[in-house]
């Protein structure tokens, strides 16, 4: 069955073939080269403890990026993820420290709240016919404010010992958050490839009108994807609060850049319909390694911000170029 795929080649130009190849392996190569460079510049980069530190750090961004992959595959965006992380993380902390909730509640309620925020984002943007860029800009502010309200001016610290396992536990040599991250990548990858839900996600991103004419309930599917993202944002909030043993008021600020960056760098098109969650895995690792490498090299945080922003723009330009050549 696969042999027939090759027959298509004559239809594609050289540039198009390049971009198709780039989609498959390009970003992985870049990742390996970047690692190699950091490894040469600072030997500590490949130290096992550092590697574990990097992938643990990456997991927090990564689980959200998995959710963001769904939303971006639809051709949409969510800017509120950082605030979802902060708010759900703060709720988890408040439940344990202030409101006397047990372990069960302080895990389930933040996840539900995250899902609910996702639902709100999706519902308001589809029903109100407002671009989610604007809606989530609003919720970004709303839930940052709500986080500060719950916190009442100071971070909440001192989580349950069991709760601290979420962000700090180890399964053998592998940190628990990494398992959560890899698990969500595999699960999401399976959904996207094998289930009707995944098929609709690609279809809506590729041609929303065709999806509608094929009887797909486009709006409700969009809402569901925002819910997935909200849920995973909540999971990330749990991991972060657990790992820091504290819910910070400014937790998760700026995450939207890293998360969207990981997805776009991973080859998922901002225009929707192309890409996947394994690219996001590599994208998240790349973003994490760059941050870590620059830290190890003692590069000032200001420069790091400049570098990360530049990487994002470079990835967007690549996406744009890819589109132009694929669509001509």
């Amino acid at each position: 069955m696969n042999k027939s795929v090759n027959n298509v080649k004559p239809e594609k130009s050289l540039t198009q073939s390049f971009f198709i190849l780039w989609d498959r392996v390009g970003i992985l190569l870049v990742f390996l080269v970047v690692c190699l460079i950091f490894g040469i510049l600072t030997p500590r980069f490949f130290h096992p403890l550092n590697i574990i530190n990097v992938i643990r750090q990456v997991s927090i961004i990564g689980v959200i990026a998995v959710g963001m992959t769904f939303v971006i595959l639809l051709g949409l965006i969510d800017l509120s993820v950082g605030s979802i992380v902060a708010f759900t993380g703060m709720i988890a902390a408040a439940l344990q420290v202030k409101w006397g909730g047990g372990l069960f509640l302080s895990i389930t309620i933040p996840l539900l709240v995250g899902t609910g925020i996702g639902f709100f984002n999706g519902y308001v943007s589809t029903k109100g016919n407002i671009h989610p860029f604007i809606v989530t800009l609003g919720t970004m502010s709303i839930f940052r404010g709500a986080t500060l309200l719950v916190a009442q001016g100071r971070p909440i610290s001192g989580m349950n010992p069991e709760f601290r396992y979420i962000g700090g536990g180890m399964v053998g040599a592998i940190p628990f958050p990494v398992i959560l991250f890899i698990g969500s990548v595999i699960f999401a990858g399976w959904i996207l490839k094998r289930t009707v839900f995944g098929r609709y996600t690609y279809s809506i991103g590729g041609n929303p009108e065709a999806a509608l004419l094929s009887g797909i309930q486009v709006d409700s599917h969009k809402v569901k994807c925002f819910c997935i993202l909200g849920f995973l944002g909540g999971l990330s909030g749990l991991i972060l609060t657990s790992r820091l043993n504290s819910a910070e008021m400014l937790a998760g600020s700026g995450y939207e850049l890293d998360v969207i960056g990981a997805v776009i760098i991973g080859g998922t098109s901002l225009f929707g319909g192309e890409g996947g969650v394994y690219g996001t895995l590599v994208g998240a690792l790349l973003m994490g390694s760059v941050t870590n490498g620059l830290n190890l090299l003692g590069v000032q945080p200001y420069w790091q911000m400049i570098v990360r922003g530049s990487i994002l723009i470079a990835a967007l330009l690549m996406d744009r170029l890819k589109r132009r050549f694929l669509e001509q």
């Binding site: 027959n7 239809e11 009707v196 041609n207 065709a210 999806a211 004419l213 094929s214 009887g215």
Partner: protein, 314 residues
């Protein structure tokens, strides 16, 4: 055998339509036998139609489609104004008219994309109210839209089954796990049966030419073996050779599968080679309904441009 599951859905849907059809015309004798025979709709269809292929019988039968006094307005634009139209079993109807005459709007109303502002649509004599194309498909209405409605980023089997994927049954059913291999197999079979030439079934539609896309869209609608096929400008924007290929496909469907069709086209040559009858829309109104053998292309052009006085319209 594995081929059963998805197809059975179609068969059931279809037999329901057949039942309606039979209720609608008790005078015909072929009903009972075929109603019992629920296993293959292709066979059934042929059997049914061959019995009533003569014109007299067609005329007495309940039409597959009746559109009655349908109107549709978009803001200030009256896209359709009291339009009525009938399509009989096995009939190929040409729908012609200038740009903006309301042809696509009419097709979309029949296909369940828009609800009509007024008037009604009947399938096999039964009034229907579609709220989505999904509803229309349940009644065996398949549509090739003017913009094709293919997902360019998906391959041919994915497009064939878009919105009605085959899924694994049993306990796993709620997961809606797709039967990828089976869908690919059936799509491949359909493409081969119709002798459609495309580079590879597993390549994204993006890599196909306009003619190949059109062929895929037509093949998809034929694949589901509906009772009424709606085609909105299936040969527009195609080269001579490509449109010849699509015409071949449509004729093949018309003669071998006896599917009823409405074909919108600006190409009267195509209309003449394919259709039995022709309806003309002009500025949202139906201005003529004529049998092909009782008119001439010149006269039809007259109706389209308004040069001829209204004739034969209902």
């Amino acid at each position: 055998m594995g081929a059963g599951c998805g197809r059975r859905v179609v068969v059931l849907t279809y037999s329901r339509q057949e039942l309606f059809a039979h209720h609608g015309n008790s005078s015909l004798a072929y009903g009972t036998q075929n109603e019992m025979d629920g296993e293959c709709l292709g066979k059934k269809k042929k059997g049914g139609t061959s019995l009533n292929s003569t014109d007299t019988e067609t005329a007495t039968q309940t039409p597959v489609l009746q559109v009655r006094n349908v109107s549709k307005r978009f803001g200030g634009v009256k896209a359709l104004n009291n339009v009525s139209l009938e399509v009989h079993r096995g009939e190929i109807k040409g729908l012609v008219g200038d740009n903006g005459a309301g042809k696509s709007t009419l097709i979309k109303i029949i296909a369940g994309v828009y609800p009509p502002d007024g008037g009604e649509v009947l399938i096999n004599g039964e009034p229907v109210h579609f709220s989505s194309p999904r509803d229309a498909r349940k009644y065996g209405i398949e549509t090739v839209y003017q913009n094709l409605a293919l997902s360019e980023n998906l391959d041919v089997p994915s497009n064939f089954f878009l919105g009605r994927e085959l899924v694994v049954g049993g306990l796993l059913k709620p997961l809606k796990l797709m039967r990828l291999g089976e869908m690919q197999k059936r799509a491949r079979q359909a493409i081969e049966d119709l002798h459609v030439k495309i580079p590879a079934i597993t390549s994204q539609v993006r890599w196909m030419s306009g003619g190949q896309r059109q062929a895929v869209a037509v093949a998809r609608s034929a694949f589901w073996k509906g009772q009424l096929l709606l085609l909105d400008e299936p040969t527009a924007a195609l080269g001579v050779e490509e449109s010849g290929e699509v015409m071949r496909l449509l004729k093949n469907l018309a003669t071998e599968q006896k599917i009823s069709m409405i074909v919108i086209s600006h190409n009267l040559e195509h209309v003449w080679s394919l259709c039995d009858s022709i309806d003309v829309l002009r500025q949202g109104k139906k201005v003529a309904s004529v049998r092909k053998d009782e008119t001439t292309p010149e006269e039809v052009v007259g109706f389209i441009t308004g040069a001829h006085a209204v004739a034969g319209s209902k």
